[in-house]
Structures are given as structure tokens and as C-alpha cells.
Symmetry: C2
Subunit: 257 residues, 2 copies
């Protein structure tokens, strides 16, 4: 039996990035796409519990079935597993996102929220993002690299409980220097909300903000992307900082039992 | 100068849990509350970039200023820092959430999304949750413990870049056995969306699901809560799984440069 590959994203089922990912996936397996109806960027790992979800079949072919869902990227994964995948997916792919999910952006990313959800359900999951913010990103140039990584993951697997966050620099195919396994570089958003006044005299605030790299390590995704490499960061969904356990156990000793 | 304590939550500015947290915080500092207008449970670390945010002052007193915001918990923190805090907060508190954010629930939690946001901005931040899902949770019983932890964090600090996720069992004050520093226990949601048919003949899906503990470790938050202890899990916002870097570097060697 061919592998079953579940695909989702956060840019919506009609985005160019998900179409590109579908083309790659269909070479290697049967594909089920369940993706948000609308652009759901910045939704992180949010889930919908207070309203019901709707799903609609968009294009049903033997080897590729496409649905949109009214929920978040993580909802799409949950719902696909339970109701739209004929069997347990061998691989979950999310993306290709238009825009970076490297470094701290991973926290906010709906693309990576879907990947974490799949991982939490015991599935092998990879998120792909292209560091390009134009309205019309060109995914063709980078597709051979996406294919290389998808094939590798299908053949070699991922350590259990680990996600992969793949970010691809916005370069021509020949300009990309290669692929690197990295750690997440430290960075922060210096947030300057812009305050405006509406025609009725009331304030409102637009998120703006400037991205600030805080890490010069050559082993980071930030360094890789800046230097023409594709970054792959292995991630965990267990956010425990183990080294802090003995430290806090000693520092907070007088309130612990 | 008294410490400045920023408070938010995901249950909304009118919830009983945030009122309880405010009462504790006012004993130790000047308080600014910026919290979501409506219940925002399950929003994780999502942020609002495509619509502007509104903020309204609800109650302005010398030592405690309360605002609601139309955004997510993470938005509240970002916006408060930039526009509603007179100076950099010494401490950010989120909660007290009505319901567990222990173990894997931390991923979905808007309460903890706000804490991660504050941490990513270099602030000291703690999330509090009470493992009680009733409409009217009784926060009074556990408030002395919340106060003990807030006081300890103000006095002893938290390691830089680390969040604290505090979960409190739903017990009477005297039944609580104490406080423990824990790791996040492994668990998963076995998701069974319930499919229903609307009066017009169309399907819709309700999230239901059953929580399954996968970890018997006595060092976990799951064990602590089951045995009558308050759990404090130190967390990191860097999701890199360091041990997987050499492992993948070797396993994927033929596609890397």
C-alpha cells in the first residue's frame, strides 16, 4: 500500500504553497488534504471547541482528496485523523507557508501548530515555510528541495515525538547552498503597535513590529537562512526546561514539599 | 517603587479567576490588567495581525488599572507592554484559569500563550490554573497558595527565558499536600469529533475527546495533581530538541551540506 500523506497549512486550501506541496506528495503516496477555508496565519496551536466545524469536499480523486475546514490548522489535523483519513497517516505535511517560521516565529505559526498537533497524536509531521512575503511566492524553484526532504523523511523517519520545522530561503534553486540541521535561533519581535483614531474618534491598534535577531550562532536556523541554506529544526512538544527543575527545587525549597 | 504586575488571562476580564489573581497581586505591587473581552480558551499563542485591536478602560484606580482588549491573550500582553504599562512590568501573571493547563493542555492554552509571549519579550511570567471545570470555580480555597508562589517569584525570580506553569488541584485548602517542581507529563487527547446533521441536512462536527495520560512518572505534573500537590513546571519557549540534532545530522547525512 502506498503511504498515506495528510496535508494541511495555515494559508488556506486555495494557496499556491499547498498546491505545490500536494504535487510533491502525490509522487510518494495517497494524499488527503484538509486545510483551513481562509488564511489562518498566526493562529498558533489554537483549537475550536465552542463552535462546531464544517468540512466541504473540494476535489475528490482516487489518489488525492481535498477538503476545506472552517477551523484552525490544528483542528484540520484532528478532524482529518478522525473522519477524513481512511487509515492512520504515515506522514503529515504542513505548508508550504508563505513567510518564515524560523526562530521565534515558530511560536505563532499555524503551520507549525498543525505539525505539533500531529506530533501530539503520535504522527510523523513536518512543516515547510518559504521565507518570502510577496503576494505571489514562486514555489517552483524550491520544490526539488522539498521533495528531497519528503523522500528522506519517508525513508529514514523522524525520532518519535519530534517535529521538523523546515525553512527555505527565498533564492533561486541554484543559489541554495544546501540543507542543515539547526537549533532554533533566539530572536524577538520588538512590538510597536501603531495607534490610530477611527472616524468616530475612537482609538484602535494595528500590530506592526520589527524582528530582532539575538543569536549569532552558526548552528541556528537564522544563520542558515541568512547564508543561503535550508534549515531543519527538530522540535519537541514537551516544553519542560529540565535544567531548571533542580535549580528551582533548590531556589524555592522553603515553599516546596 | 512598588513592583509593576501585569495580569491577563484567557477566560476574559470578567472572570472570577482574574479577579482573584488581582486581589493577590495588589498586595505586592501596582497592577495593570489587560485581558480579553470574551472567553478566549484554546487560543494558544495566537496573535491578531489582520484586524486592528480595540482596548477599553474598565476600572482605573491608582494602584490597579483594568482594561479589556478585543484580541487574544498574547495580544493583550504585547499591547499592554507597548501602550498600557507605565514601565516595564516586573512580573506578568496569567489566570487563574478555570481548568487544567497541565501536561499537553499547555499547548492549546491561551493562558500559557500569554505567558510564553511575555517570556519571549524578556519578562518574568507565570500562569496559574485551577483543575476545576465547573461554571463557578471556588478560587478562595487556593488563593493562599497562589500568594505564596507570587511572593516567592517576586523574591527569588525565575531563571532567564523560563516560564512557570502552575496547576492547582481542585481541593480544599487543607487537603492540598504542598507544592512540587515537576516536568510536564506525557498525555494525549483521543479526539472523537462528534458528527451531527443540521436541520438543513448538512454535517457539522463538535470537538469532544478524552484525555489519556501516558506517563506514570512521579516527577510529572500529572502525578502531582493526582496526588493532591500543586505542580510548577518550568518551561522554555525554544522548542529545539537538542538531542535530535546529532541524531538527524547522522541519519540524514546524504542530503545535508
Amino acid at each position: 500500500m502506498r503511504p498515506l500523506i495528510l496535508i494541511t497549512n495555515d494559508d488556506g486550501y486555495q494557496s499556491a504553497g499547498i498546491a505545490a506541496l500536494q504535487r510533491v506528495a502525490r509522487k510518494y503516496g495517497d494524499v488527503v488534504v484538509v486545510a483551513p477555508r481562509h488564511n489562518s496565519s498566526g493562529l498558533s496551536h489554537s483549537i475550536t471547541s465552542k463552535t462546531p466545524l464544517r468540512v466541504r469536499a473540494v476535489d475528490i480523486q482516487d489518489d488525492c482528496k481535498v477538503y476545506f475546514c472552517t477551523g484552525t490548522p490544528a483542528d484540520c489535523v484532528k478532524l482529518a485523523e478522525g473522519h477524513f483519513c481512511p487509515r492512520k497517516p504515515d506522514l503529515v505535511l504542513s505548508g508550504i507557508n508563505a513567510g518564515s517560521n524560523a526562530s521565534i516565529n515558530e511560536l505563532y505559526s499555524g503551520t507549525m501548530g498543525a505539525v505539533r498537533e500531529a506530533c501530539s497524536d503520535g504522527l510523523t509531521a513536518v512543516g515547510f515555510s518559504l521565507v518570502d512575503y510577496r503576494e505571489k511566492s514562486d514555489f517552483e524553484e524550491i520544490l526539488p528541495y522539498v521533495e528531497t526532504i519528503v523522500r528522506q523523511v519517508l525513508q529514514q523517519g523522524i525520532p518519535a515525538g519530534i517535529t521538523l520545522n523546515v525553512n527555505i530561503p527565498n533564492l533561486k534553486h541554484d543559489e541554495i547552498k544546501g540543507i542543515r540541521i539547526c537549533r532554533q535561533g533566539a530572536s524577538r519581535w520588538v512590538d510597536s503597535y501603531e495607534r490610530r483614531v477611527d472616524p468616530h474618534g475612537h482609538d484602535y491598534y494595528w500590530l506592526s513590529g520589527r524582528f530582532e535577531e539575538l543569536d549569532n550562532g552558526e548552528d541556528t536556523d537564522l544563520w542558515a537562512l541568512r547564508n543561503g541554506y535550508i534549515s531543519i529544526v527538530p522540535g519537541t512538544i514537551d516544553s519542560t526546561h529540565s535544567d531548571s527543575i533542580p535549580l528551582l527545587t533548590s531556589r524555592y525549597a522553603d515553599i516546596l514539599n
